[in-house]
């Protein structure tokens, strides 16, 4: 056996196999030969990779992901850090079954976090002038890294480690503007939960056929804003960006 089958003559089989690799192995696969590279670049493969552990897969995010840079980038920038983090946490209490440890299951919250981070990445990269913004102190990408502050008996609680630093730097009485007062209070009381963290990051998008991107934040329900101002106003701590981005613009939007 073995002489009758050559994988590169069976592209449908090859795609089925590559679809089941993880991100790292897919990067290796691209280096095998030209055909593998062409297949590994295909965004639908990365789409599968991003959300294969989610059931049901998130709906209606395709246009947004494509508009913000594609699934490969989504995986590399946002899904991978979250996955790595979950891999560290989820095995607790599951050691008996190695299969479960290997497969990481996503909840809606991880999907939301990834997509939100992806949008942050996009705004920093495209609208704030590319690579430099990612490194500057006001970047929100630090949210990819997280510390577990879950009280005993709860799991999957995610807080960005930047949050804790922010919080400590300001002293107990002051609330970090980034993450909101309710979360801070709950954290101090040793009882916070994932939903609040997500709620702060959660934003909705609408991509028009003209290519224009509109954003709705959870705080400003039922109102659609052109992406840039609204997202920045919502996300960034006021002392970093208020003057630069012109809050007046946002105000006028809200009024009119």
């Amino acid at each position: 056996m073995g002489t009758n089958f050559f994988i590169n003559d069976n592209q449908d089989v090859l795609i089925e196999i590559l679809k089941r690799l993880d991100g790292r192995s897919l990067g290796v696969a691209a280096c095998v030969c030209r055909l593998w590279c062409a297949i590994a670049r295909n965004d639908s493969l990365w789409e599968h990779l991003c959300f294969r552990h989610v059931s049901p897969p998130p709906e209606g995010v395709r246009a947004v992901v494509l508009a913000l840079g594609g699934y490969r980038r989504l995986y590399m920038v946002c899904v991978r850090p979250v996955l790595n983090r979950l891999r560290k946490w989820r095995p607790i209490g599951m050691e008996s079954d190695s299969e479960i440890v290997k497969r990481v299951y996503w909840t809606r919250h991880e999907v939301e976090l990834s997509l939100s981070l992806f949008c942050v990445d996009y705004y920093e990269r495209v609208l704030l002038g590319g690579g430099d913004a990612g490194a500057c102190t006001s970047s929100l990408m630090f949210l990819c890294k997280a510390v577990n502050v879950a009280p005993k008996g709860l799991d999957s609680i995610i807080l960005p480690d930047g949050y804790l630093q922010e919080h400590r730097a300001r002293g107990k009485n002051e609330t970090p503007s980034l993450l909101g007062s309710s979360l801070a209070r709950r954290y101090v009381a040793g009882d916070c939960n994932l939903m609040i963290d997500m709620a702060i990051l959660s934003i909705s998008f609408r991509v028009l056929s003209t290519g224009e991107l509109y954003v709705m934040t959870r705080r400003h329900k039922e109102r659609w804003y052109p992406g840039k101002q609204a997202v920045l106003e919502y996300f960034l701590p006021s002392e970093f960006h208020c003057s630069e981005m012109g809050l007046a613009d946002v105000d006028s939007l809200q009024r009119g």
């Binding site: 009758n4 994988i7 089989v13 196999i17 790292r24 192995s25 280096c31």
Partner: protein, 163 residues
């Protein structure tokens, strides 16, 4: 076990492999393959399989028989069977995946592709090429470039074994 009268009533199929061996199986076992099912619906009882060799066909018939008898109680048994089924060489897996693809047996296809993917995880490009018998068609410059573009994949250790 089925009694003689029941056996007579069961519809049978003959599958013929690429190397001309013939196998008789129950229709209910065979129709788990979409390809065979379509032929059966068109009235065929003799099914030539020019792309499936005897060695793979024997294993696949085993698989189909086992999975045709799936009940609530033998779940563990089937899991063990599946585990043994894929515990073989890469070349055998390729032959099986090629057959499963031709026969359109989706659950088997899924299991084989997942097995192959799991087993090439953490291998170097060189090892993957050897496993799949692929010749590298990059120039050295192109290869250096593509490796650079995928630098993240080259962090850490690779498993260079070929099994």
């Amino acid at each position: 076990m089925a009694s003689t009268t029941e056996t007579k009533q069961k519809k049978m199929l003959i599958l013929k492999s690429a190397d001309n061996d013939e196998f008789e199986i129950e229709e209910s076992v065979g129709v788990q393959s979409e390809t065979i099912k379509n032929l059966v619906e068109d009235g065929f009882t003799f099914v030539p399989l020019p792309n499936v060799y005897t060695k793979a066909l024997i294993k696949i018939i085993d698989y189909l028989k086992k999975h045709a008898n799936k009940t609530d109680s033998n779940d563990e048994e089937i899991k063990t069977f599946d585990k043994d089924f894929v515990n073989t060489t890469f070349d055998d897996l390729f032959e099986l995946v090629s057959a499963a693809n031709y026969l359109h047996i989706s659950c088997l296809m899924n299991m084989l592709c997942q097995t192959i993917a799991d087993r090439i995880k953490d291998k170097s490009p060189e090892a993957v090429r050897k496993i799949f018998h692929i010749n590298c068609d990059y120039t050295p410059e192109e290869e250096a470039k593509i490796r650079k573009a995928n630098a993240q994949a080259f962090e850490g250790q690779f498993d260079e074994s070929l099994d």
